[in-house]
Symmetry: C2
Subunit: 300 residues, 2 copies
């Protein structure tokens, strides 16, 4: 498979897959969600289980009427029961992806993380993968964790690399290049995660994540710009062409997300990983397109 | 004074100041430094004390010959003694700014931080201020700390805000707007610095830094984009128009620096603060212009 280079590619790829996934969407009741579900159905990207919490947009009602074989609409009394119902559908195998509509993330996560009836199995690491399409970079770049794990432990870093390289392969990158991000190139006890980085590199070399290349610690510029790497005398197979960046903490990941989406006009997609099915929890400030790309990513 | 909106403004402003500052530059022996010192002299931005460490570029020699009243050149046996000599000149009041040329940052900092003969007085907080000119933002934006303090304590945050608002005023912003950056808007014990943020806001309200506006915790997008703030229901006098961003840790500050300079074509300036005189320690990967802007910033 030719690697998927941007989100248009991603949408086209999904359109051509022989089997459509089914997305359980919680509370379809805002204009962004209307945009997403309309395009998803019009372009054949997925089938939908719309779970309304009390009220529901007219677009959702019409879609369910017009496409009865592809769109199911059920109505629950409120957002919380809608979330529980959608999660139950995923657990029962009636949906492949869970997606947030017009419900607070906290409320949706309460259902997702419920110990008895949720989607996170015991011992699994919940994390968040973002994918950025940054003008000028020429390829999609994944990064993690900008949203869930404040300060990853070594075990959590290990899971993060696993989720990220898995997504890389699903977008057609056979040998993912993973950059471990920090502000310097030095492994230093003042920065405990850089010690984890050394250990991660040993595990990468031993094949824990299959055929991947891993480098770091290095800064964002070194990871994404060959010239910067050369100026600093850092030449690794990852320098200048990272497919995935592992950030040392949530603050730095979040700053990357916000800085490139605001100032570099990057388009973004993202999803939670570690759950029995991907969960799309796009934020209020994300664009309709960003929500569509996130859904597409989760359906790969 | 009309606020300085970009680095061209800054250069023009400096050119028109009645009194030129004197910059002690350590080891003028590379093409970027040649570019900086040539423009500094040609445009009347500052006078120079060039302290060579053994060798020295021909451009430096010529400048000293052609402008004997504005450029002094002294030669020390090596880079370390050049650093000590330049630091001594600053301590003696013979220079107002210290700047790194072709010397490793570590070697320069050894002289700057020397307990007996250095530039950091006991009890002072060393920190780094960056200034970014980001296409589309319409004003300069300061941020800190991307280079020195890994995880600021409350006392260090306090110093950082002091240095930043001081620079804001020197570029003509009478009431600096300071955004305290985090990935969420919540003050949360999981993130100890957000507790400091609450305390900083009380101190700002009490007038510790004079007339400033402070908001946060908020993310980078909320700080720099009014629409994002509105979408999230966050409306503060800082939202969408921050003059300064305080980052919670070095990793997030560094990621902002690298991400906007690489992907948003931002121009950057930066300097160390807390020392008896500003210290410019631009990195190898910075452009010649970036080094010139840093010098100009330090000479304000």
């Amino acid at each position: 498979m030719t690697p998927i280079k941007d989100f248009n590619d991603l949408i086209n790829h999904l359109r051509l897959l022989p089997q459509r996934k089914r997305v359980a969407l919680v509370c379809p009741d805002d204009s962004h969600t209307d945009y997403v579900i309309t395009r998803v159905i019009a372009e054949g990207l997925a089938d939908l289980l719309l779970v309304a919490g009390g009220k529901c947009s007219s677009v959702a009602v019409e879609l369910a009427k017009d496409y009865p074989d592809r769109v199911a609409l059920v109505v629950e009394p409120n957002a919380d029961s809608a979330a529980r119902r959608a999660v139950a559908a995923v657990r029962a195998g009636n949906a492949d992806v869970l997606m947030k509509g017009t419900i607070n993330t906290d409320n949706l996560l309460r259902a997702v993380l419920d110990k008895e009836c949720g989607l996170l199995e015991k011992g699994c690491v919940l994390s968040h993968i973002s994918v950025a399409q940054i003008p000028g970079y020429g390829r999609l770049i994944l990064f993690s964790d900008a949203a869930v794990i404040p300060r990853p432990t070594e075990e959590q870093f290990e899971a993060i690399v696993g989720y990220g390289t898995d997504v890389c392969r699903r977008i057609g990158i056979e040998q993912p290049k993973v950059a471990l991000i920090h502000c310097t190139e030095k492994v230093n006890e003042k920065f405990p995660h850089t010690l984890y980085y050394d250990s991660l590199k040993r595990k990468a070399a031993a094949g824990l994540w299959g055929d991947i290349l891993m480098g770091g610690p290095m800064d964002v510029k070194t990871a994404c710009d060959a010239e910067s790497g050369e100026l600093k005398g850092i030449v690794t197979p990852v320098t200048g062409c990272a497919d995935m960046m592992v950030f040392p903490n949530i603050e730095s990941g979040n700053v990357f997300y916000k800085a490139v989406s605001l100032f570099a006009r990057a388009e973004m997609a993202g999803m939670l990983c570690g759950t029995v099915a991907p969960v799309v929890v796009a934020s209020r400030a994300d664009t309709g397109d960003s929500k569509l790309y996130s859904l597409a990513l989760a359906c790969l």
